[in-house]
């Protein structure tokens, strides 16, 4: 097990190094002179030189890459050109919205998918099963930002149960904050819940057709006992993987959904930075999101191997 973790750890570090290199090259090397790009066509020579100095663009490319990575390892993401504040601080602030939003959506999606998948699988072929599958078919086809807009129309504009956008702020209390995040979280969760329900259902059906389930039934356990004691636990492995993978989709999806609800999270920050040509901020946010994705996948792999010893030998 330890060997497996170490091996995965090495590949985690390599992935992160390569990913950071890709991001660095795409954002700092490809545009030529980032300072000239950020200031636009009519930049004065001395402003340009000052910005280059401030961004540390005077070194060679490998030097710049190494100092960028070294900075990040110490929590220093550089300084935003447009906001003139440390990027780490800005990201930290925004994370307090984006991260709870993604976790809220992940929780909702799991809470919906679990019973729905079990329900459909336990009544395979019935009207319930067909109904659940039909709804999930719609759930994966609906663009979530459009679903979000429809929810604003119904629950904010017509029923006035929620505000149409903006964030109340955590200082207004936990409940007020969560309330601002509820519609966005539901919108984010819907497609993921649909996918997860399908995975849950088919994984459970696969497990239910295995020999040990027949043995358990032959032993005299009821269908319900077999389902809860034997089938569910074994059906969880693919479900866990998908939940891990969904985290990255939720982080990326949050970028879009934050725009529907004007939430001041990472997504808004990225788009504001793109229009302000603030490359340093874009670079840092992309790196952070990719880091989160790679880290979560690593955690899932390790958790997986801990649960199922057969997997340690593979790959």
């Amino acid at each position: 097990m330890l060997r497996y973790v170490l091996k995965r750890l090495v590949s985690l570090v390599i992935s992160l190094a390569v990913a950071s290199l890709v991001i660095f090259v795409a954002i700092e090397v490809v545009p030529g002179d980032p300072a000239a790009y950020m200031l636009g066509m009519n930049a004065q020579a001395d402003t340009l030189a000052a910005l280059r100095e401030q961004l540390g663009l005077n070194g060679s490319i490998p030097e710049r890459y190494l100092s960028w990575v070294a900075g990040m390892l110490q929590g220093d993401f550089g300084t935003s050109y447009t906001y003139r504040t440390p990027v780490a601080e800005m990201i930290g602030e925004r994370l307090w919205i984006s991260l709870p939003l993604a976790l809220y959506a992940l929780t909702l999606s799991t809470l919906i998918a679990f019973p729905a998948g079990v329900w459909a699988a336990s009544r395979r072929g019935s009207a319930v099963d067909m109904g659940v599958m039909g709804v999930t078919q719609l759930g994966v086809a609906i663009p979530n930002f459009w679903f979000a807009m429809l929810m604003v129309l119904i629950f904010a504009i017509n029923l006035r149960w929620f505000s149409a956008g903006g964030f109340a702020g955590w200082e207004q209390g936990f409940f007020a904050g969560m309330k601002s995040l509820t519609l966005p979280a539901v919108a984010l969760a819907l497609p993921q819940a649909s996918i997860l329900t399908r995975v849950m259902r088919s994984s459970l059906l696969d497990t239910l057709s295995e020999d040990f389930i027949r043995t358990a039934r032959a032993k005299g356990l009821t269908r319900r006992q077999v389902l809860w004691r034997h089938a569910l636990r074994n059906a969880m492995i693919p479900v866990l993987t998908i939940i891990g993978m969904q985290f990255s989709f939720l982080m990326a999806g949050a970028i879009i959904i934050e725009n529907v609800f004007f939430l001041p999270g990472l997504g808004r920050l990225v788009f504001q930075s793109i229009s302000a040509r603030d490359l340093i901020v874009v670079e840092s946010v992309v790196m952070l999101l990719v880091f989160a994705v790679i880290l979560v996948n690593f955690a899932v792999d390790v958790a997986y191997a801990a649960v199922d010893p057969r997997l340690r030998g593979r790959r």
């Binding site: 590949s11 390599i14 086809a141 663009p143 459009w146 429809l150 129309l153 088919s202 879009i256 994705v293």
Partner: protein, 282 residues
């Protein structure tokens, strides 16, 4: 005989028939829009702005008085073109990579290809689009590249996985004994046997591409004005949703129905190609 049987199976497969019909409606709308649209989408008619559906405008008009039905028809071109080209990029690069990785299983090449795939998987297409846009500015082309790059590992993995099991078959062994090289075996024996899988996955990536294009255009990273696109129609409608909800409802329905049609078609094709394993769609 086989073709006739396949045809009959196709016509009795409900998902396939409904999915195909829905998809054809939108592909048809896109094609017809080249020759004819109810109203020219480049002409603004402010006097008739934000009109609700009527005989003259079956789906109403937008904030510039443009006919929403015509906008959806022209927008279908953008969505379909972006998604199709992205699938072609994904298949064009992913399939050869997958074939090569399988042919040289366990080699350094295989390792490099698979780790490269893992890396691309860590960048959701939205992040790729954000990086490209930050540097080159937004455009439909950049949306295509972003979605296309994301499709490469999808096809590479699928092809590799399927090809690996084919390489253990007797007829491949026979071909090797006959002295055929890895490239010839991949092209003559492996590729034809993974085609069905690729078609099914292609349909799914096509539908995901439509969703991704809509999302990118919605946040302004995709097709730029004056090219009509479903995502931007939704973005435009957002601030007017309380008094002109039809502007938001119809383009969204277009996306939903197209994606639904393609997904149903993918399910149907999967059943058709592999009736033994009627696997539930994940």
């Amino acid at each position: 005989m086989r073709a006739g049987g396949l045809m009959r199976a196709a016509l009795t497969n409900r998902s396939l028939v409904i999915g195909l019909a829905l998809s054809l409606v939108f592909v048809g709308a896109a094609l017809i829009s080249f020759a004819w649209v109810p109203q020219d989408v480049t002409v603004l008619d402010i006097a008739n702005k934000m009109k609700t559906p009527s005989a003259a405008h079956p789906l109403g008009t937008d904030h510039f008085g443009r006919d929403i039905l015509s906008m959806i028809m022209v927008g279908a071109r953008t969505s379909i073109a972006v998604a199709v080209v992205a699938v072609v990029i994904g298949m064009g690069l992913g399939v050869p990579l997958g074939l090569a990785a399988a042919a040289r299983r366990g080699s350094l090449l295989d390792e490099v290809i698979m780790r490269g795939n893992d890396l691309v998987f860590a960048f959701p297409s939205l992040l790729i689009a954000i990086m490209i846009t930050a540097v080159f500015g937004p455009s439909a082309l950049n949306a295509i590249i972003a979605i296309g790059i994301f499709n490469i590992p999808v096809f590479a993995r699928l092809t590799r996985g399927a090809a690996l099991s084919l390489w253990t078959r007797d007829y491949v062994l026979a071909a090797r004994v006959a002295g055929k090289g890895a490239v010839r075996i991949s092209l003559e024996h492996i590729l034809p046997n993974v085609t069905n899988l690729l078609i099914v996955q292609g349909t799914i990536q096509f539908s995901l591409g439509i969703l991704a294009e809509a999302a990118l255009s919605y946040v302004g990273l995709g097709a730029q004005p004056p090219i009509p696109s479903w995502g931007r129609m939704l973005a435009d409608s957002q601030t007017m949703i309380s008094f002109a909800p039809h502007m938001a409802i119809f383009p969204g329905m277009a996306i939903l129905l197209t994606v639904l049609g393609l997904n149903l078609m993918g399910d149907g094709l999967r059943d058709l190609f592999d009736p033994r394993i009627r696997r539930d769609r994940r």
